[in-house]
């Protein structure tokens, strides 16, 4: 009887059942969507962090930042000869360690020896600023006296000679291109950890462990495209000739390193013998990261240890905004909608029970125990809840797939702000540029089984809450209500 009665009731009161089910469905769909988008955000953030660190890197050790002392490693400095020829093309590379701050190579072993550290690998990041162009000497006119030719500054076209008095210099000038790119020195013996671990070699091959001093390079795909490099191409950095052996694609959409060379070679290039800029650390237990961080900070002075958690807090941009939106606003919105849906379902069920006073009173008068009547009401609610749950899951899955299909692009700015310690008075560019990295990540909304289980749980809960409310009312009805003349 329970089943037949249930079926008939739901069949007849389709509209009311649908309203309750839709209310619940909306709440549940929202929970699924917010949960999935939130999971997508976390994935996106992980991707961003992975792109910086590589899989398996738990933290990095860098030199603690100190204020640049005047004169030492200031801005890039270029030297050009002011030849007497009227016009000449010149080129100069300025190679500088990133941020101008380096650690001794011996620290790599020291870090590796710390408790909780599984492995540590050093890497050297360099910034190469290439300036090339032509320089034209100004000609002094006879009607003017003196010569005050000015060489071009670091950048741009300073224009013609200054006209401060007589004699005048006319027609002089310089035309330079400034081109900067980043080079990473990779420990060829331990490529699983370090800057190259975020890249996948798509063409050619990577370094062999024997190529510690080889003049070979792996270039990033975007840089190779820009420079039209192929495997086998050659290029020069500060007059050292390199051969491209591989082209690498970053795991995420963008990488901040353009060229990878063996560590030793990079140290020679950057005049940073036995120096590294970053030590990549893998902890033995990923849950002990903060303890290991403390250990390293305490035992090795003058270093900054950055964990992925630290880095995550520096992620900014639309990803960060969307992420906090999903976790805060989205969470509260879905809770609010869910609570409202539960309330509406409970009230509708309760009022439906009130309208059936005589029906339930009659059943009681016929000798139906209260529990049978209550069971009937709760049963109806549960089915409503489950229908709502099914609709909600369908709706939520649809929304999540829609998000994944559209995959809105989010940008993330990663890196410490104000990291321009290396960018001295003149330049400013390179140091800043490398430490501030913008990534573009496509957002997806993966739906996990846990989310589905949560939705089903919510549907059952919603049905139970509504049923409990209605059942309680039904159980309180007296058999004498059957004699009421209201219809």
């Amino acid at each position: 009887m329970f089943g037949i009665y249930l079926k008939r009731e739901l069949g007849r009161r389709k509209k009311a059942a649908l309203v309750i089910a839709l209310g619940l469905a909306l709440g549940i769909a929202l929970v699924i969507t917010v949960n999935s988008v939130s999971a997508g955000m976390t994935q996106a953030q992980d991707k961003v962090l992975k792109s910086l660190y590589g899989l398996g890197t738990d933290m990095t050790v860098t030199k603690a930042r100190t204020a640049p002392t005047s004169g030492s490693s200031g801005g890039p400095n270029f030297k050009f000869d002011a030849k007497s020829s009227s016009s000449s093309t010149q080129s100069s590379d300025r190679v500088q360690t990133q941020g101008g701050q380096a650690l001794k190579s011996s620290l790599v072993t020291k870090v590796a020896d710390q408790t909780g550290v599984e492995s540590a690998v050093g890497a050297l990041s360099l910034n190469v600023t290439k300036v090339d162009g032509s320089f034209t000497q100004g000609k002094a006119k006879s009607s003017t006296s003196g010569s005050s030719s000015t060489s071009g500054g670091g950048q741009g076209q300073p224009g013609g000679g200054t006209a401060t008095g007589q004699p005048q210099v006319q027609g002089g000038g310089a035309n330079f291109n400034v081109n900067s790119y980043s080079v990473a020195g990779v420990d060829v013996a331990h490529q699983g950890l370090g800057p190259l671990s975020t890249m996948k070699i798509t063409t050619g091959k990577t370094f062999t462990s024997a190529q510690t001093s080889a003049k070979v390079a792996v270039v990033s795909k975007s840089y190779a495209k820009e420079k039209k490099y192929k495997v086998g191409s050659t290029f020069k950095i500060s007059s050292t000739k390199f051969t491209v052996i591989g082209i690498a694609t970053p795991d995420s959409s963008e990488s901040d390193t353009d060229v990878f060379v063996p560590l030793k070679v990079a140290q020679t290039l950057g005049d940073a013998k036995n120096q590294v800029t970053t030590i990549y650390v893998k902890a033995t237990d990923s849950k002990q990261i903060s303890a290991v961080k403390k250990e390293i900070t305490a035992n090795i002075s003058g270093t900054t240890v950055t964990t992925s958690a630290d880095l995550a807090s520096t992620v900014s941009g639309s990803l960060s905004t969307a992420s906090s939106l999903a976790t805060s606003v989205g969470k509260w919105l879905s809770i609010a909608v869910l609570v409202a849906a539960f309330l509406v379902a409970a009230l509708l069920t309760s009022s439906a029970v009130s309208r059936r006073v005589r029906e339930f009173g009659t059943l009681k008068a016929l000798g139906w125990p209260s529990r049978n009547v209550t069971r009937q009401v709760v049963g109806e609610s549960m089915v409503n809840g489950l229908i709502g749950g099914a609709l909600g899951i369908a709706l939520g899955l649809g929304a999540a797939y829609a998000v994944t299909a559209i995959s809105p692009k989010l940008t993330a700015q990663v890196g410490s702000t104000g990291g321009g310690a290396g960018g001295g008075p003149g330049g400013g560019g390179p140091g800043q540029q490398a430490s501030q990295n913008t990534l573009e990540i496509a957002l997806s909304a993966p739906v996990s089984l846990t989310t589905i289980a949560l939705a089903v749980g919510l549907a059952v809960t919603g049905g139970l809450i509504a049923g409990a409310m209605g059942g309680w009312r039904a159980s309180r009805m007296r058999p004498a209500d059957a004699l009421r003349s209201v219809s």
Partner: protein
Amino acid sequence: MYRLTGVTKRYTRGKETVEALRGVDLTIEDGDQLVIQGPTGGGKSTLLQMIGGLDRPTEGSVELDGVDLARISETKLTRLRAEKIGIIFQSFNLIPTLTAQENVETALVPLGIKPAERRERAAEALRSVGLGERLTHAPSELSGGQQQRVAIARALVKKPKVLLADEPTGNLDEGTRDDIMALLEGLWHEYGLTFIMVTHDSSIARRAPRLATIKAGEIALTEQGGGQRYAQQAAAGHGQQQAAAYGGPQGQQPYVQQQYGGGQGY
């Protein structure tokens, strides 16, 4: 046998206390027919609720075969209703979503009868009230008289000891009323039921062997001697109109002979 002693029922409505029944004493023998009559709000329905175990008196006792319905537990009272008491309502009170047969089955659910037997007994009960062809009809597909027949089948399918009827013809036209009354009287005879009925209809009331009139919560009993009593009234020139309403001169016959017992197929 029913024995009501000093039954008083008070309701509290806001600050006001309404006394619906005032110390009612009443004895109803097994197989008796009692009609309860009286003005609206006089306490008729309240008395029926006490007798049917649908509500409990504030004071006094309602004994059915020695069991005081005012004192037994809710579970036992519910069980007693399920087993011994069949009820018919003015508005039929059928479950709108269930078919005629399923509606009748609802009376057997609390008795723990297996579905197959339930269905068989429900069909049988419906056939006995002349609705053998309407088993799968929903209440909305049936006329008022047919709905009340379903309700009667529902009340009797469990073979109760007592049949209570609250204005069973109140929502029916005259012709249908006579059909239903004939059916009820026939069943009363056939099953040897204790039949207690509340009605507004004085022509029905006049036919009852025993009439209880309730006014302002107090009861007055009249022994009428049934159809004979009605016949005497008719001969004395009273109630011609009522007699006509039952079908003229034939109104002198009991319903059973007139319509049900007359073999019209119930």
